[in-house]
Symmetry: C2
Subunit: 496 residues, 2 copies
Amino acid sequence: MSKRLEELQAYLGETAILNRAGELLYWDISTTMPPLGFEGHQEAMTYFSTRAFQRETSEELKSMLSDLLCKKEYEALDDTWKFIVSYMNRDLERKSRVPADFFEEYCNEQAASEFAWREAKQKNDFSIFAPHLEKMIEMTRQNALYMEPEKDPYDTLLDQFEEGMDQATYDRLFGELKKELLPLVDEVTMRDVAVNPLVYATCDTYAQAKVQKILLEYIGFDFEKGAVGETEHPFTMGFSSQDVRVTNHFKENNALDGMFSAIHEGGHAIFDQNVNALFDGTVAHSCENMGIHESQSRFYENILGRNKNFWLPIYGQIQDLLPAYRDLPLDDFMSEVNHVKRSLIRTEADEVTYCLHIIIRYELEKEIFSGHVAVSDLPELWNQKMKDYLGIVPDSDADGILQDMHWSDGSFGYFPSYLLGSIYDGMYIDAMEEELGSIDELLATGQIQKITSWLNEKIHVYGNTRSPKQVIDAICGKEVSAEPLCRYFKKKYLGQ
Amino acid sequence: MSKRLEELQAYLGETAILNRAGELLYWDISTTMPPLGFEGHQEAMTYFSTRAFQRETSEELKSMLSDLLCKKEYEALDDTWKFIVSYMNRDLERKSRVPADFFEEYCNEQAASEFAWREAKQKNDFSIFAPHLEKMIEMTRQNALYMEPEKDPYDTLLDQFEEGMDQATYDRLFGELKKELLPLVDEVTMRDVAVNPLVYATCDTYAQAKVQKILLEYIGFDFEKGAVGETEHPFTMGFSSQDVRVTNHFKENNALDGMFSAIHEGGHAIFDQNVNALFDGTVAHSCENMGIHESQSRFYENILGRNKNFWLPIYGQIQDLLPAYRDLPLDDFMSEVNHVKRSLIRTEADEVTYCLHIIIRYELEKEIFSGHVAVSDLPELWNQKMKDYLGIVPDSDADGILQDMHWSDGSFGYFPSYLLGSIYDGMYIDAMEEELGSIDELLATGQIQKITSWLNEKIHVYGNTRSPKQVIDAICGKEVSAEPLCRYFKKKYLGQ
């Protein structure tokens, strides 16, 4: 191994240790730390993240990378290190085009804006957030222009969350979907659905934690390299492929919510646990394409978890743990799991109307970045689109434009990747059934591990080293399309 | 504030951040980390503890301290910083007399010895541990001699765990106690005690965790600055007075064990939560006198927790949570809590015979350090003393001399401080009842918070800044004596 590569590895190793400390502090703040412990933990977290950031953007690192990119050095690297060196260099080049003082101001504004958003949401007062949102739009656009001066800023943002994506592609995919879904939602929501109240009966939260354990093991989460915690909002994080954690929030009167969060986060975690362990501690490890990552959590949550066959092998165990569910027939449970309704909140939506929630956000982001809408007009435009696509209008901005935090820290371009994940899922179904046979059959006969192994092998093991296009090409051999997802919805909800 | 003091504070602040990361890694390894996450966490923990140790023994620190000890600088310091600067300097001076290469070897031997002890205990084979124990004795003696060349090494060790203690004092205290306890144990253990089997009935561990929460809140543990976790062996740790954590291990068939661990660790934690917050991040914070610290955990566990009146206000709540306890009368519960029996394992002993377990260890340590016993003769000597003082002999070394880990890492001199804690407790009872009235009465009427406040005010708030002698003088106004503890035992167990 070349001396320069050894130096880079040692350098990355030490940076990874500082990042590990920062991430562990974040984990602990979210899961365990008592309220008054915040100041000390926060100070330490800033210390480590500042030091890690300095190392990640240092001249020393730049010089190591540029040496390793020289023809002779580069050719001696194996494929993994070729990927790592090129990827880091590209990233560093893009970031170094952003002036340091601008970047610092942007970070400060992000924090202030997120803070204002919380207050605005809590007080249901968009005017508190509006000036910050304006600033966030302006600075995020500027940041995108610094990074890619030649490119449409919103395309840069879309690409940042999912390599290779742009407005032209999303327009095509979402257009296709919208055309099919608007009439489908109309038809399905006209049906009368009687909700069995036992679905929302009181369930002990400790018992729900036991149910989570069963669900996670069932789908293939490995507790030898995984752990769980409780937080206000569920999330997944990992230190390496050997230590990946999911959190959940158990609500006494909504056991369904905890179960589906467990399956969703479990899908993210199974991805991270099965990345090639040789990538640990490098940029090759954790897949940074949000659409691809979300395609895994959503595959488990929706394609598998909202399929009755998924529950056949384990529903009895769940009934044992949740006394209130003992008199709840599986069919009544499934009826609520697949209850399509016109609702206001994205994170609580069923798998069908969820798509429309995302399309609304995407269309608004496009309007914002094309400069066709003023911030002050956004709440009304939001409500108008809710009315047009979902047939309901929020009573308050808190349940409308203020519901999500994403825009508050400038994460424009993130929302579309969620729906892209489901579009990928539609395509995986076709490829998977061709190779493994019917998913219904696999689930009903307790062979879910075959599905997990297939995903491990086709997607997870590569971590961050394959672009979304490479992933889809290798699995499906065709261009990404919303047609399979539409077909899945029509079959499931219209019996077509 | 002097420039030099500002520098010292910044220096200590950064060291505290590195220590916080190391401690948080330890916490996470013990409570949450999945098995395969160990390698990454371990590497990071070593990184931070090495860096913190370098800073704690650096020339830079020495020079700051020596500047601040100059008359003019020193006189400008407030009392807290006077304490910190003198304490750190004394500690550094003592440590710098230990040659670095010896210290490194000692650390390595400690790790090897602890590892060998685990294997020896598991295989019930003292010969695996014997050569390591020999080495630990030799090196611990040498280390003590480096630190205090003029002093009897075992006295140095005793002083290290409890400032001001030596063999002469322990001989007096433990002699007094032994004389009273041997006949008392003979008398009490002759009684027939019928154990109600419901005490050891199966109790859901999640329900036990809820019981723990009730107990901790009841005794005064503050969840605003405290948290809990689960580990194999219970412990208490804190990052500062604002974040103190206890762990527990819940056993399905021994709810008693979890309850008393909660009360014991809760006692340690209440101490740390109530130290003056201005001391956070410095040596003034956490009391390093193990006897004083243990006096708090043991006061809660024994003096309060083994008193029937303690349970009157909360036993009903516990019965609500543990269905098996609903038919267990409080008197039957208390009978087992105060069941004095001749048993082999220190950590499972009742409050009376516990004293004899410690006295045995103290007497053996004295023999070891006076050079009067060979390591190979220790198991037999252990068994002989067990026979003489407790009237039973272990079947195996695993339940005999190998039961505790303390000697494996050279912590000779630590055991006596546990019993010293109980001796202090006897003295606190007298002082407390004089000021607050009967403890029985306070407990029975739900006024336990008055007891906690008294301990906060008299002991906790001072953290590490008062020596044990100062603590006892201020509270009791007399020299430490085992007489009050003996009186407490005779009253409780003989009705005298």
